[in-house]
Symmetry: C2
Subunit: 424 residues, 2 copies
């Protein structure tokens, strides 16, 4: 029965029922963790062959000795795999060290310190820098722009991607808006994939700032939970056609494909943007870890090999996502106090609970031994204006633990809702 339709006394009974259920939950003394989008040990095992690679072969296809210094853009062996996956040219993509987050930070840092090639001055010399942040979004993105002191403007997500009409309106009128965060495929935390129309709109909208950039974090480009892969829209091409060739900084990595902390990160963009990046990155250092790149190229073989590898991840993750969705449905649908996304890929489910109760749900869960990502984490400055969003990350624990944890979370959601409704 929908909690909104209950009489006060029915609600009181329901509260007591949930209170009892919660005390039983606490009595289990659980220690479960749904906080971060980490691969499970089972998933990591899929890539254990990497521990033996590159073996005795250290020479890249172009003759480069990967053991020595040099090669700021990385080796073509691995760049060509990702050029194919992203649908870009090989001279539009750089392979780096392990972390695309590192590269995103550096891109912003370089633009802040020295300006982009399209900037009239370094961003640090602008009176204000503003940044569009589709919400809910990725906490580590927002932490970077917070750290640089940018004013973050939340933009609502729709089922098709960010509200592009709102984005276009904001960007057209305000030259202080220098950038935007996007996770275009199986986004963090919604699991939403931007439609081609949304991609086209973002590529072609008029920006008041000539140096407006979209950080296109395609972290989950091939992270399907089904047997089909999403279309990877080539935004570099769309932007060039629209006369905005330098708009996109496209990022991706193998972090949730091979080993999470020691994969290969990629930066794809216009040649102008890559040249600008290398002007600064070449001062920062000599080049990325080519041995790790060669090992990954050997491991995948080609883009088809990488996709075949992703099928193993899908087989491991899909039952966990199915369990979460089934429990949410069984426990919460009737009560009418929550809604959630049903992603077909990625690492997260975005759960909206009764307005005003997200932080209470996380607190209750914590006191029952279930760690959830802090409420508000998916919003700039951790401020969820409705205090309703919770990011669920079911990848790390075994499926049986996911079930126990989610059943507990559902109890917390219902208990917090009943508390709130009784206090109104």
């Amino acid at each position: 029965m929908n909690l909104a339709d209950m009489s006060k006394s029915e609600l009181q009974d329901f509260y007591q029922e949930m209170r009892t259920a919660y005390e039983a939950l606490q009595a289990k003394q659980l220690s479960l963790d749904l906080t971060r989008g980490k691969p499970s040990a089972e998933q990591l095992d899929f890539s254990n062959e990497l521990g033996h690679l590159p073996g005795d072969t250290f020479i890249a296809a172009d003759g480069t000795d990967c053991r020595n210094y040099g090669g700021l853009f990385g080796i073509t062996d691995i760049r060509k795999v990702y050029a194919e996956l992203l649908g870009v040219e090989i001279d539009e993509i750089i392979a780096g060290d392990s972390s695309s987050l590192n590269m995103m930070f550096d891109l912003i840092s370089f633009a802040y310190l020295w300006g982009t090639q399209d900037s009239s001055r370094p961003w640090k010399d602008e009176p204000t820098i503003k940044w569009l942040c589709p919400v809910p979004g990725y906490d580590r993105h927002f932490t970077i722009t917070e750290h640089f002191g940018f004013e973050m403007i939340p933009v609502p997500m729709t089922a098709d991607g960010p509200d592009v009409a709102e984005c276009a309106r904001l960007v057209a009128e305000d030259p202080a808006i220098k950038g935007m965060w996007c996770v275009p495929i199986f986004g963090n935390p919604t699991g939403i994939t931007f439609t081609r129309e949304v991609c086209e709109a973002l590529a072609s909208m008029n920006a008041a700032a000539a140096d407006f950039r979209i950080i296109w974090d395609n972290a989950y480009a091939v992270h399907t939970l089904t047997d089909t892969f999403p279309e990877v829209v080539n935004v570099l091409e769309l932007a060039a056609q629209a006369g905005n060739p330098n708009r996109f900084w496209v990022m991706t990595s193998t972090s949730k494909i091979t080993f999470a902390g020691s994969g290969v990160a990629f930066f794809a963009s216009s040649k102008d943007n890559l040249n600008w990046y290398s002007n600064h990155a070449s001062v920062r250092g000599i080049g990325p870890n080519k041995i790790n790149q060669l090992a990954h190229a050997q491991f995948f073989g080609d883009a088809a090999g990488l996709k075949a590898h992703m099928a193993k991840h899908a087989a491991s993750l899909a039952p966990k996502f199915a369990a979460v969705l089934r429990i949410l449905d069984e426990r919460l649908t009737a009560a009418g106090v929550a809604s959630w996304t049903k992603p077909e890929g990625g690492y997260f489910i975005s759960l909206d609970v009764l307005d005003g109760t997200a932080s209470r749900v996380v607190e209750l869960a914590k006191e029952a031994g279930i760690a959830l990502t802090a409420a508000g984490s998916s919003f700039p400055l951790h401020k969820d204006p409705n205090n309703r969003n919770i990011r669920l990350a079911p990848s790390l624990p075994p499926v049986e633990e996911v079930k126990v944890a989610m059943d507990g979370v559902a109890t917390c959601v219902l208990l917090a809702a009943a508390e709130q409704l009784l206090n109104q």
Copy 2:
């Protein structure tokens, strides 16, 4: 015979003799490269076992699964090897990705953007930032401080290290001096190792800037060419004793120990400095490549294993350095137009030719197919005030090529000197 003692006609004859030798050199159509301090293929082979590591073992000594995310400071398995080598505590050292240069750039960048914990404001908000640069020094160091727009103040090197009286005088009186570059052991390009007294003076000198930092790039800490290792002075301890606990940012890496582009870099400093670094580095990303760190820990075993490994490098490099020094002595001593360092470790020999002729020597060598590091490279802004310094890097080519190249360089030095003396 010393060229300075020659009559005009003797000098003319000598010039003709060198011209003839130079033309013979050109006729050989060489293609040799003494530009960069790269390990040779033979040296890289010493570490080929790394291609098979970490094998099937992914768990660090403390139970960390190195395949997953996490651990901004790196794993203790490799940190303890370098803590022992540097004589610091394990909680005073961070293991990072492959490049210590990357970390040096980031340290300066973080201080520039946000200030150090001892700064009254971010360095970007200072009217001027100045930086002490012992010369000759490492070109990539100077390029970083140039890129940030710092005013670089050359300080002369002596046989014991930088002129500390001059450093102390400058640093005491000018609060705009925020830092200093140092390569304390087998320095680039001189091969000079700072004496303990110099280390003590640098640790204890009074600095007008409370946030004065010395980047202590101990890149060649164990890179001996003999069977003895230099003392690694613990400057963190010296600085703490002198009341300047946050003065040193100590850097090192395995770049010239295992594979040049894919080793492990380290940052050792006070706990306060490491905390300050992590405040920013934790925004930049999640953590370094722990798989590579584990592979290196397995490969070395311990500090003694690492030193045993360095003996192989010494055996490979010593004959090349000996060949360079013998040819320089045989070809140049009598002429009295050059002097050079005789390092017992590191990757470079610093050659001073007749004042005003270094760029001509490099040009002549180039036209004879011998690539030398550009004249002036070892000075801030590439400006060698005497146009006399040339950095020789004999590590990369096989010893027979080193001999041919150096004999050619000697001819160029003598020809350039004769040209200059005849034109006076």
